[in-house]
Amino acid sequence: MWAKLRWGWDRIVAYLILAAIAAPFLTMYVGFFLRAFGKGMTLGILPKEFGFTNFRFLWEPIAWGLGQTTMWAALGNTLAFAATSGVVVTVICMLAGYALSRIEFRGKNLFLALQLFLHAVPGQVLLIAIFFLLFYIKLLHKIPGVALARASLEIPLGIWMAKGFFDGIPWDVERSAMIDGCTRLQIWYKIFLPLVRPGIAAVFIWGFLFAWHDFIYVYTLLPGTTKLMSTLIQSLLATEVIDYGYLAALSLIYMIPPLSLFVLLQRALLKVPVFGGKGV
């Protein structure tokens, strides 16, 4: 299909249509970077000069309304939240994924149904009840509690991913270990864990990334004084005078950790299904 592409009229029209649709988005993305690194704007999107004044939150406290925090505190909170969620998702999905892949039991189809159900009645719709639930088990307004609630959203799909990785390991490996006298638990951490290391990385990033990007859970279930990066950006966006350059720079810093994680572990992630999970 690709080898002998001609430049016919139909192809030129295809390029024109795609370029026309992409143009506003490219303007947005390029404008975003120019705004983050620019000082004073001319002609709408072109900065007069480049500099790092928009990144002054790196050494100055950030004020919104009557409150005040630092970028580093927000970054630390985000990291704690995302790491907790990532660890919970990884541990639970790896154990459950193994069970689902190796042990025959009834209710396997339950997980298929669960995935659909989770999409049909997503966490954002159940937020009121989750608010009360955390309140009653005394975990409301606490980062670990909210991270636990957030992690549960990624578990059905995470288990599916983990199962896929375990499915890829041949039965023979396990059988020979069993013949040599390993127990099931020994097999799990001596044989499987080293083999599914890319799987572990992928599931961890899955849980970590969605928690890092999360807005509605932390906005609703954590107090206004505990700022994460997402809620910090939102509260600055909700003030009277908005400094867009400052916000663009802050957003850039917010996006760097997940992107670098992505690049670092790219090879492991190539096997990850990218289906859904994000609300829209």
Partner: protein
Amino acid sequence: MGPSLGLILLFYFVPVVLTLLIAFTDMGRALKWNFIGLDNFARLFGVGGRDPFIVKIITNTLIYVTGSLPLTVVGGLLLSVLSMRMHRGAGLFFRTVFFIPRAIPPVVWGFLWAWSFEGTRYGLFNGIRAALGLPVVHWLIRYPMLIVILANGFLGISLAMLVFSSAIASIPRDFTRAAEVDGASEWQIVRYIIVPLLKWPILTMTAWHLMSFINSYVYIMLITGGGPYYATEVWALYGYHAAFNQYRYGYGASIMTMLVIVNVILLLILIKAFGMRRMLERGKIEV
């Protein structure tokens, strides 16, 4: 298995039941369980004291869903067909551009739209307009629903495009090549070979995004906050605002309960129509 089921049970099935229970109370700021029977639902359906906003909210939700769903499916189809039928590098470039919305955090996507369509010359597009000597347009006040539909639609497009593209990639070459040999034009190949083979991915994506859009409110909250004056307030967002802005948890829960009921009915219809297993198989084509 144990811990995972426990966690799903705790944060999934308990909340569903809890939502149903709270819906029958007039739970307010004091968090007291005071059961009032069907009063919340009566209010929703206009029996007794009617909620003055409900008609507006339902209209908004219908406009929002009927706007963003076709945009997502048709847009995703258009972008994937065009980008898969051109030079590989260029196609990959365009797919990356349209996948970015899904790769960045929701808050940043919301920020990009709020900033681009800001009503003063400090906004991106108004800045460009001002540079060209055109007057500024108050986009978010004049076309709030259009902007909300576009922002959510292009988020849906990013997923739909990916699924359709991988389905197109798995169509055997012989099919298109045979058509080319027979002298089919590019348009005929797309119309009579590619689109018919994408029947299942298209149905799956339509069902998936139908449920997504009915339930989604986070991006609307970030971009317009439901305003100006309820212009973009959809059903789910109204429930959220009732609970967490006005502290009427009971009323908010009853609004969300209606959503859960609609979702479950939709899900049952979809399972009945497609079969569960088929709905979960992603991007497969049937040859």
